[in-house]
């Protein structure tokens, strides 16, 4: 099984495979942030901090215990989610800009912490041993990305997800509907950070070297741009947004030193022409149903009346 998958991976161009893995990890990270920013409406600028906690936790677990990789990732996610819940408890009382500044500060603290933390080699960074799994990394990343997509899609249309959306739309009204807003905000924050942690774990084992300065403010902004570009709150949008932004620097490589310039211009143009993101405010299911010539659920009900 393992060797079969290995040979399958070997058939794909390694450069392309690298881009695909980057896209997969970006999808996991961005979907996590989408739960916090897109669904719950809590602006977080510290997503990379949770990614770094996940990356270092996962690396340390592999080094110290050598647990199987899937168990490792779950444990990593739980650790990250716990940190998020502890941090979230005081700071999620803030809203909007104030919360953003708080998460920004927290991200800096985490970075400085790892830069001075002896067990993870301080600023030298950590060399991560190979993941303990039969499945090759690229396929592993793909599987986790699919699980993440299914998970967030499920969450979005559930009672839990509706409560999050209610908080995003109007907190006072949400409370008047019997929703414990603080609890749901913390849960959403923890869920999003769980995914950030898992994404960090994948990142660490794929690159096999991590450095605290990889997870700075710019990384958080990168992830946030993926969510905003795709459309806040939209799962297919986030997937497309992260695919585009995670692969754009590679596809633009033929422009050599101008590529980041074009990348920036691309972002600006997209925001000017689609301020709600690529799929923001679009019901993806309706769009698909229309594309195959069927009527969306809403229209069907209207016509029955």
């Amino acid at each position: 099984m393992g060797t079969y998958l290995q040979s399958l991976v070997a058939m794909v161009d390694p450069y392309l495979m690298q881009i695909l893995v980057n896209v997969g990890i970006a999808i996991v990270l961005a979907l996590g942030l989408n739960v916090i920013v897109g669904l719950t409406g809590q602006l977080s600028l510290g997503h990379a901090a949770f990614m770094s906690i996940g990356a270092f936790a996962s690396a340390m677990i592999t080094i110290k215990t050598g647990l199987p990789f899937s168990l490792n990732l779950v444990l990593t996610g739980v650790v990250t989610a716990l940190v998020a819940a502890i941090i979230g408890f005081p700071i999620l009382r803030l809203t909007g800009d104030y919360l953003a500044i708080c998460t920004l500060g927290f991200a800096e603290i985490v970075k400085v912490f790892f830069l001075n933390f002896e067990p993870t080699n301080k600023a030298l960074g950590l060399t991560v041993p190979a993941a303990k799994t039969m499945i090759p990394m690229p396929i592993y990343v793909l599987l986790v990305a699919i699980i993440a997509i299914v998970l967030v899609t499920f969450v979005q249309s559930s009672r839990f997800g509706r409560a999050l959306k209610a908080i995003r739309e109007d907190e006072i009204a949400a409370e008047a509907m019997g929703i414990n807003t603080t609890r749901y905000k913390i849960q959403a924050f923890a869920l999003g950070s769980f995914m950030a942690g898992v994404g960090g774990g994948l990142y660490a084992h794929f690159l096999s070297y991590i450095n605290p300065s990889d997870f700075g403010f710019l990384k958080s902004v990168d992830i946030l741009s993926m969510v905003v570009l795709g459309g806040l709150g939209s799962v297919p949008g986030t997937v497309i947004g992260s695919s585009v932004l995670a692969s754009a620097p590679e596809f633009l490589r033929f422009m050599s030193q101008y590529r980041m310039l074009v990348y920036g211009a691309l972002l600006v143009f997209l925001m000017v022409f689609r301020p709600n993101g690529l799929l923001g405010g679009v019901n993806f299911m309706d769009l698909c149903l229309r594309a195959i010539g069927k009527k969306p659920a809403g229209v069907a009900l209207k016509q029955k009346k």
Binding site: R162, A166, A173, M177, I179, A297
Partner: protein, 258 residues
Amino acid sequence: MSILKLEDVTIRFGGLVAVDKVNLTVEKGTIVALIGPNGAGKSTLFNLITGIYTPTEGTISFMDETIAGKTPYHIAAAGIGRTFQNIRLFTQLTVLENVLIGAHTRGKCDLTGAILKFMPWVRREEGELYDLAIDCLKQVGLTYKAYELAGNLPYGEQRRLEIARALAIKPEIILLDEPAAGMNPQEKHTLLEMVQAISRTGVTVFLVEHDMKFVMGISDRIAVLDYGVKIAEGTPEQIRANPKVIEAYLGKGAASDA
């Protein structure tokens, strides 16, 4: 039997006494209106009952349990539904989702339920919530707009959607903050019948309203608030003849003329 009881409820914002020692009892199954000039403290009183503010003094009890000082979501879950004076719908969500969020307290499935969405008990609960939501939409006549965005509804329908959302809590009592504001006479008439129909289902109605014709036509009892003080309470006939009420609304001269 009293369902909602306010005893000496007072709230001060700094030096301003917005609600001053108000005593009020709402009987189960009745329609009670709270009226008063602008700034009399009507909405503040609603916010006190629903837990947005905590009274400085006094107690509020709902079905013989003290609710003053509890959080808004506890109070909502206990069975008090409300609408807002300045409509507070979840505008970017569909009409159906709005009502489903209203039905939040009627469900149990949490994050684990969201992950195990395909499990039979989760699907059963979703089905129940959906049926409840559709039922509430029927009561206000908005079923045909279930999949439209709430923010795209015309004003009058937004007000009705707020009522449907509050009904989805399956409340014992529903607080309507100026439900007829901005409606034309036709819409007001529809609303009047709607509120009476809701009342017939056994839900107690407590409303704030400025439209006197509406209030007089619908209420079993009326309480009048002026500068935070309750100045009168009684049946619509008693209130209409009360000199203090006329004075509060029309000034001192008008009261002596009448």
